[in-house]
């Protein structure tokens, strides 16, 4: 497919990898923010092309992974109600809650449906006026315009039986939370290309300056990632810390203005709980003003049991880039995609699922062979 397959060309990838090898003189630790990027890196074996000086750590950019367990529990409770058609992206269904996942409650007879777009859920609400249709609106900035539009159209067309259970999170506050932690090992970032397609990249400029980290807006195909790494390494080697745009075929500096306007009309910024990371101030969206009537969290008040995380799961450390999936004793033993203990093993963007599916189970740990970034 055009604009896809050409960015998977092996010869071009080798050329870029060679350019990276020529540029590197010291060890560097780079974080790719988005779980989609993690999957490309692991699936395409990009780490094997890179010089051993470069360590890639995988970031928190997996909406399924960071959706708090309390909200999974709430989704399960709502989905179990007889009048409800509960709609979700497929990724969310296997995520373990305190005692059940959405799949479990579906197996018990709940009407849980996988949809491709929030507009499909809205369509279901129109065709089932006697049912309550709830859409599990999780995601980063990339998905916010779609969910904002579903709320806006529901309001515009008076679809009263449609509501959204929202867990919308934002990348820049999470980056700041990671960077301000003493445990942070990250020296440069590959920013999430599609998040920046919506929001642009001006908001990353103060972050790059304050924490002295290069931030390169990067796409999702192998050549995108290799070029993003090359640009980041070049900045690190030259002692620069700027925001650059590798993914210029899709991302403009100012982002997508009509999408930003719709987001601002429908959502307001709020503090959000991140599974594994805790609460981060001003790090997410909730519905504002007249759209609040479509908020499932308000429509279905719950007296939920206290949430219970698996004590063995180290998802929080993995999402911060402090541990890798194969550092976890439960990885591929007690925790598999069929029986996950935590969300990163479930999602198509989770680091644990990527390592499991693409065979990175026994790789050497680069951290052991290199001096730790703190001691550099």
């Amino acid at each position: 497919m055009k604009f896809l397959s050409e960015y998977r060309d092996q010869k071009a990838a080798d050329q870029l990898a060679q350019a990276i090898r020529q540029r590197v003189t010291r060890p560097w630790t780079i974080m790719e923010i988005c779980g989609g990027q993690t999957h490309t890196i692991v699936k395409s074996g990009l780490e094997d092309l890179l010089p051993r000086e470069i360590t890639l750590v995988h970031g928190p950019g997996c909406p399924v992974c960071v959706t708090p367990i309390e909200l999974i529990d709430k989704a399960v409770t709502i989905a179990a109600r007889p009048e409800v058609i509960f709609c979700s992206f497929g990724d969310m269904l296997r995520v373990p809650g305190s005692s059940k996942s959405l799949f479990d409650v579906k197996a018990e007879g709940a009407d849980v449906r996988i949809v491709y777009s929030p507009l499909d859920a809205l369509k279901l609400a129109k065709t089932n006026p006697d049912r309550q249709v709830v859409f599990f609106a999780v995601g980063f900035e990339t998905t916010a315009p779609a969910n904002a539009m579903a709320a806006w159209q529901a309001d515009h067309d008076h679809i009263e039986n449609f509501s959204l259970l929202i867990s919308h999170v934002l990348v820049p506050p999470a980056m700041e939370a990671l960077l301000s932690s003493e445990k942070c090992v990250v020296q440069g970032f590959l920013a999430a290309g599609h998040v920046c397609t919506i929001m642009g990249y001006e908001e990353y400029i103060p972050i790059a300056a304050r924490y002295k980290v290069p931030i390169v807006v990067t796409g999702f195909e192998p050549l995108d990632l290799l070029e993003g790494i090359l640009m980041t390494v070049t900045q690190l080697e030259e002692g620069r810390h700027e925001v650059e745009n590798q993914y210029s075929r899709a991302v403009r500096r100012e982002g997508n203005r009509p999408a930003q306007e719709r987001i601002a009309e429908v959502f307001e910024i709020t503090a959000r709980q991140w599974r594994g990371l805790g609460e981060i101030p001003a790090s997410g969206f909730q519905l504002r003003g007249r759209f609040k009537k479509h908020d499932a969290n308000l429509r279905f008040p719950s007296s939920a049991e206290p949430a219970r995380e698996s004590p063995e799961c180290i998802a929080g450390l993995i999402l911060q880039g402090i541990k890798k999936p194969h550092d976890c004793p439960a990885f591929a033993v007690k925790c598999t995609p069929e029986h996950p203990l935590g969300a990163p093993m479930v999602s198509s963007e989770g680091a644990c699922a990527a390592y499991y599916h693409y065979g990175r189970r026994q790789t050497h740990d680069v951290h052991i062979e290199l001096p730790s970034p703190a001691s550099r």
């Binding site: 990339t142 779609a146 075929r249 899709a250």
Partner: protein, 86 residues
């Protein structure tokens, strides 16, 4: 979840308010109806990046060639200087 796929617009239907602007988009043979509210500049024949049923960006075809131009320059440079030993 932030996955987005490029496809070519083959048809556009205006639904009154821009919020309802729909296009038929071809993804290597598979055609889907996609909301074009966020890409008012989209035209038939252009490629858009599609995420959960919405076009979020029109692909800049000149920028899409940039990495290949860079690699071509890199190749030409190497030929001039001779292969650099690794």
């Amino acid at each position: 979840m932030c996955l987005a796929v490029p496809g070519r617009i083959v048809e556009i239907t205006d639904g009154g308010d821009i919020a309802f602007r729909i296009g038929k988009v071809d993804f290597g043979g598979i055609r889907k109806e996609i909301n074009l509210a966020y890409t008012p500049e989209a035209e038939v024949g252009k490629y858009v990046l599609v995420h959960v049923g919405f076009a979020i960006s029109v692909i800049d075809e000149a920028e899409a060639q940039r990495v290949f131009q860079y690699l071509a320059e890199l190749g030409a440079l190497k030929e001039e200087l001779g292969e650099i030993p690794q």
